[in-house]
Symmetry: C2
Subunit: 313 residues, 2 copies
């Protein structure tokens, strides 16, 4: 379990290397929901996602002996870029295990940050085995995407900033995938604005976190192709325990609501977000009662979307 102390220390540790991201608001969105919604723009964070926070927090804590052997992870998403970025800051090697089905643009982005990529088969088993083999051979230190206290504390700094930037929040929302962001943010909110309701947003077709919290038993990740592709991973025992202990509730959004929410944010705030960042507002589209009359903080987790698919009219 992490506590607010871990997040405060993380904030100090990572401050020179990450953006203190802005809060954005939209009068139209507020009028639509009869609420005051404050968007925490982690899409404007380094590497385009909150993941930079946790990765920098983990890498900066390594002792010199460990750091010298480099870091490694398996990811085709934002955590890969984040770890590559963090390793680059420290001047150490970084290896990313990536499924050979990953889009070339993601591989290029990771290489752009100076990391080496090793491709594997697109199964979790192949990812883990390849990572183990390489880590054993090179002695590289494994930095997981969410199942790690340093990662969770780092991500929690987004919640810390939100609580500092906006007073008297009634409700704080963030998406739930592996639970690193939600676990960290919930811990910050519980400590700094203890009265706020904390709601994790999850795709309805991949609602394993909701089921885990409902049943009290950790459920395997729902293997469904939600457009919120950053949320296809499941909780770990560690993040599950953190979410339970902080009294996080889960609400879900349909794929159509996620899409509408994503477009609503992009068209009104004029910032690019990835579908995973649209799930929270997607939840509110289905549950306007949750929003009405409230001051709401929403963490926009990232902005890494494939814009090549944008069709001009």
């Amino acid at each position: 379990m992490i506590g607010i102390q871990d997040i405060l220390q993380a904030a100090e540790r990572i401050a020179p290397h990450i953006h203190h991201t802005p809060i954005m608001t939209s009068r139209t969105i507020n009028a639509m929901f009869g609420a005051e919604i404050f968007f925490k723009c982690e899409n404007l964070q380094k590497v385009g996602a909150f993941k930079a926070r946790g990765a920098v927090n983990a890498v900066m804590q390594l002792d010199d002996n460990t750091a010298r052997r480099g870091v490694i992870t398996h990811s085709s998403g934002n955590h890969a870029q984040a770890l590559a970025y963090a390793a680059g800051l420290r001047g150490i090697a970084c290896t990313i295990i990536m499924p050979d089905t990953a889009p070339a643009v993601k591989a290029a982005a990771v290489r752009g940050y100076g990391a080496e990529i090793i491709f594997c088969k697109p199964t979790l088993e192949s990812r883990l085995r390849t990572m183990e083999e390489v880590a054993q051979r090179t002695g590289a230190h494994v930095v997981p995407p969410s199942d790690d206290d340093r990662i969770m504390a780092g991500q929690g700094t987004a919640g810390l900033e939100l609580c500092e930037q906006v007073e008297r929040l009634d409700l704080v929302m963030a998406p739930v995938g592996g639970g690193g962001l939600m676990g960290g943010v919930a811990t910050a909110v519980r400590a700094l604005q203890p009265g706020a309701l904390i709601v994790g947003a999850e795709p309805a077709i991949a609602d394993d976190a909701r089921e885990s919290l409902r049943t009290g038993v950790l459920q395997p990740p729902a293997d469904r192709m939600t457009i919120a592709d950053g949320l296809r991973t499941g909780l770990s025992e560690r993040t599950f325990a953190q979410l339970r202990s902080m009294g996080v509730e889960i609400e879900t959004a349909s794929e159509e609501s996620i899409r509408s929410g994503t477009l609503l944010v992009m068209s009104r705030l004029k910032v690019v977000i990835e579908p995973s960042a649209g799930v929270s507002i997607g939840v509110l589209l289905e549950r306007p009662d949750l929003a009405r009359g409230r001051r709401i903080g929403i963490v926009l987790c990232g902005g890494n979307i494939d814009l090549g698919s944008l069709v001009f009219g």
Copy 2:
């Protein structure tokens, strides 16, 4: 002709009602061009475009007698929303003449700001005739989208802010449609950073401003369907004279470069821009020599794009 004094007065007049928009930068884009590029984010302006500046500047200068009879314009684009917004601030009536082919979403946006819409046939002749009729009947004051000194001075405040926010610019770029933005921005830059090269960006398939400046004779608007739909209008004698007098040069970008430039800005800065705002970077993609080694200010004119066409992967 307007001068820097007009722009300074406009800035003071509109300050309570418009956003002082931020400058954004991207390390990746800078590395790509070997330049320092400073993006002035008018896509984050009120109504999502610089047009709010000119419209507010015009409406706030009306004497009470004129204002009482309301304002009118013909536009299906950002100027319509901007004038509706400005009229709302002053609490006066606003009528927008809009072609009956305009997308419903644009009409809804204008109504959202409290304006009344009167539809006409989708020809310039029908627009002008309808506007004249309504103006004669109601006594409403016509506020044109660009052919107006108050409008040009208002738009120029974007250039004023840019020059205040970024020192020692070697090159300033803005898109050229009706010439209101470019005329105002060029006037500010000539006064405040006189050494800077000023380049207007225009779609290659609608290069009437380039032809006007090259031949010294005002050319009619090129009636071509560029994706930079905000730039389909032509210069007026007034804006043409302003551009000539400020030594503006014109460079063009192909449709493909405009598209690439738009996607580049959206994917790296994580802000939504309309294709008209991608023309300047589109020019640099074709003319990297213009960029290399320079400090460049680029006005991102707006962010009003139809995101309904965004296809999620």
